[in-house]
């Protein structure tokens, strides 16, 4: 089985988010980037397929050279080879188009993407990808087994779980549950040493369409000062007259 894990390079959740150039650009200054958590669950599941079923695992990221540390980490965790599509990702359609091109060339059986990236939360890539490739698609995937060319996936649905089967080739949108947080791997020294020698191939983007463009970002209102009240009556009064919520 040949697996491609799509990895998105996203700011760490503790990063301070700021915008520049009149609130049109994300300010990367001082921001730590990590593997998108949903993708990390997928990567870890892919490592399981590698160890238990001898799968080959490649990773692909659309991004400029600044995404390479994140990719190198994925290689240190155990992926065999990386493909970087040398373009700054603009929107979900653009990313999916780039990935689709790489996937067609690589003849993959299973494409593991994250349900969404925690930066822009678009949630479009895996769906569009399946559409462009004409592959089966299972989203919000919280469990995955493969036997022969049949996958059995568990999906999270409102109030319960759904078990589905699908033929390979398949695209999944994965999330926590594929593996648990405690299963996530910290790259060990041996992995880091091996990652030095693994191929990280850079390919140029294909002329893709930009379907949407960011115009402006707005941050939520900063939290106001805390007001301590002396009594419950005063609190109720303030909630009524000042906050106007009751």
């Amino acid at each position: 089985m040949k697996i491609l894990v799509c990895i998105s390079n996203v700011p760490d959740t503790t990063s301070k988010i700021n915008f520049t150039e009149g609130d049109t650009q994300f300010d990367t200054n001082g921001v730590q980037f990590v593997i998108n958590p949903n993708d990390e669950f997928g990567l870890t599941r892919a490592m399981w397929f590698k160890e238990k079923q001898g799968a080959t695992v490649h990773i692909a990221t659309v991004g400029d050279a600044s995404v390479e540390p994140t990719m190198r980490k994925a290689l240190a965790i155990g992926a065999d080879e990386g493909i970087r599509i040398n373009a700054v990702p603009t929107d979900g359609f653009f990313v999916a188009e780039q990935l689709a091109h790489v996937i067609k060339e690589g003849a993959y059986d299973l494409i593991i993407a994250g349900r969404e990236s925690i930066d822009y939360n678009g949630g479009m890539v895996p769906g569009i990808l399946a559409g462009l490739l004409g592959m089966n698609f299972v989203n919000t995937c919280i469990g995955l087994e493969v036997e022969g060319d049949t996958a059995t996936a568990l999906r999270e649905i409102d109030g319960g779980k759904e078990k589905v089967t699908a033929q390979l080739p398949l695209v999944i949108g994965g999330q926590k549950g594929l593996v648990e947080e405690s299963d996530l791997k910290i790259p060990n020294m041996r992995g880091i040493m091996m990652a030095r020698k693994k191929a990280l191939n850079v390919v140029e983007p294909i002329g893709a369409t930009t379907a949407t463009a960011d115009k402006k970002f707005e941050k939520p209102e900063p939290k106001g000062a805390v007001k301590l009240t002396e009594s419950v009556d005063e609190l109720v009064e303030l909630l009524h007259t000042e906050a106007k919520v009751i």
């Binding site: 540390p69 910290i186 060990n188 880091i192």
Partner: protein, 392 residues
């Protein structure tokens, strides 16, 4: 202990000066400390026990001989990576970092630098994997700052050496499988010998009731007519310079390690100061607390730059012993002062095991003494700049 919410400060974007691999190595160590050290360390420090279950993890993150070449089981990393690993481990606990320092710089390094090919092949891969743990015996009951005066000695008996004497304050001694021991031959010249646990006449009683480095095991090495095979002598360097060469490497690691402890104290104090409300405001709003916090981050930033530059010099093989002394002395004192100030920021909470600060503070009392005391390092700088040694 509370959940570990550590966020590393990097006020001068020093990360930009590190390579991709440096950051990968450091972040792996950082993640591991958060996952495997922070949740258990307080309990082990309280019960004064070394958590042996983390040995495998220490090896996995490359804490044992990171700069030893790959052919001997090391990771073949540079000196900055070594420093960063020490920083992250000591962010968790100085005692755990001590174990890693001893294994890397005081056991693997002398075998690598002064040992025979057979000794390197026999010991280094197992030390790198943690299958064997080592200790380093230099200090004696009557000779601490003045190790040249050591009394431990060995006699050439023809087919073996006969070793007699005692070492005190030896980290890892109670559980170490091997010991690199410094002793004088019949001519009074210092040589290194590799001892193995189980040799007749060799015992390692534990030193109890420490208030510092409680999660690190410390003990004595006692040699009562120990027969040491001749092939266990480290042949390629002798004299006081041999053990001091190991100390250079360990002290360099400590100059980074101390930054880790300081960062943890600062980060804890900063978070606490922003959350703790007194007189209707977060205590971080008061100038006196801001002064403490601002001075802490200033000192941490200076220490980071000092360590990084020293790492570059070490990578180029140009760092002098005196330069290493300066960094060890400066950075450990910096960390100890920050721990004391940070403890006050937390008020009463600062003395409990709920937070790491008091443990760091007590640990650093050892760190400022071992590997050359604070005073001795000052005398080394003094001797270096004046050309007049003032030790004796």
């Amino acid at each position: 202990m509370r959940p570990d919410l550590f966020e590393a400060p990097d006020y001068y974007n020093i990360d930009d000066l590190l390579s991709e691999e440096h950051k990968l190595v450091r972040d792996a160590a950082r993640q591991w400390v958060k996952r495997d050290v922070s949740p258990i360390i307080e309990e082990y420090a309280q019960k004064a026990e070394f958590p042996k279950q983390i040995i495998k993890g220490l090896s996995d993150i490359g804490a044992f001989g990171p700069y030893i070449p790959e052919e001997y089981g090391g990771a073949g990393l540079d000196q900055i990576s070594y420093g960063l690993i020490m920083q992250e481990i000591e962010r968790g606990d100085s005692g755990i970092r001590s174990t890693a320092s001893v294994q890397s710089s005081l056991v693997m390094y002398p075998i690598f630098a002064y040992g025979t090919e057979a000794q390197k092949k026999k010991y280094l891969p197992k030390l790198a994997s943690g299958e064997l743990m080592g200790c380093f015996g230099l200090t004696e009951p009557n000779h601490g700052s003045n190790p040249g005066g050591m009394e431990t000695k060995y006699k050439d008996m023809g087919d073996h050496f006969l070793l007699n004497g005692a070492k005190l304050w030896i980290s890892n001694a109670p559980f170490a499988d091997i010991a690199v021991v410094w002793a004088k031959n019949e001519e009074g010249r210092i040589h290194g010998l590799i001892l193995e646990r189980g040799m007749e006449g060799f015992s390692t009683p534990e030193t109890h009731n420490k208030w510092s480095l409680r999660a690190s095991a410390t003990g004595e090495l006692i040699f009562d007519n120990v027969k040491v095979p001749k092939e266990n002598l480290l042949p390629n360097k002798s004299g006081l310079g041999a053990p001091l060469g190991c100390l250079d490497s360990a002290r360099y690691g400590i100059s980074w390690g101390a930054i880790g402890a300081a960062m943890d104290c600062y980060d804890t104090a900063l978070r606490y100061a922003k959350e703790r409300i007194q007189f209707g405001k977060p205590i971080a709003a008061f100038q006196l607390q801001q002064k403490k916090l601002a001075e802490m981050i200033t000192e941490i930033t200076k220490a980071q730059l000092l360590a990084l530059r020293l790492g570059q010099l070490k990578n180029e093989g140009k760092a002098s012993s005196a330069q290493i002394s300066m960094a060890k002395r400066n950075n450990v004192e910096m960390a100890l002062k920050i721990a004391r100030e940070a403890r006050q920021v937390l008020g009463g909470m600062g003395i409990t095991g709920e937070y790491s600060i008091m443990r760091h503070m007590m640990n650093l009392e050892s760190v400022i003494t071992y590997e050359g005391t604070h005073d001795i390092h000052l005398l080394i700088t003094g001797a270096d700049i004046t050309g007049i040694p003032a030790f004796s």
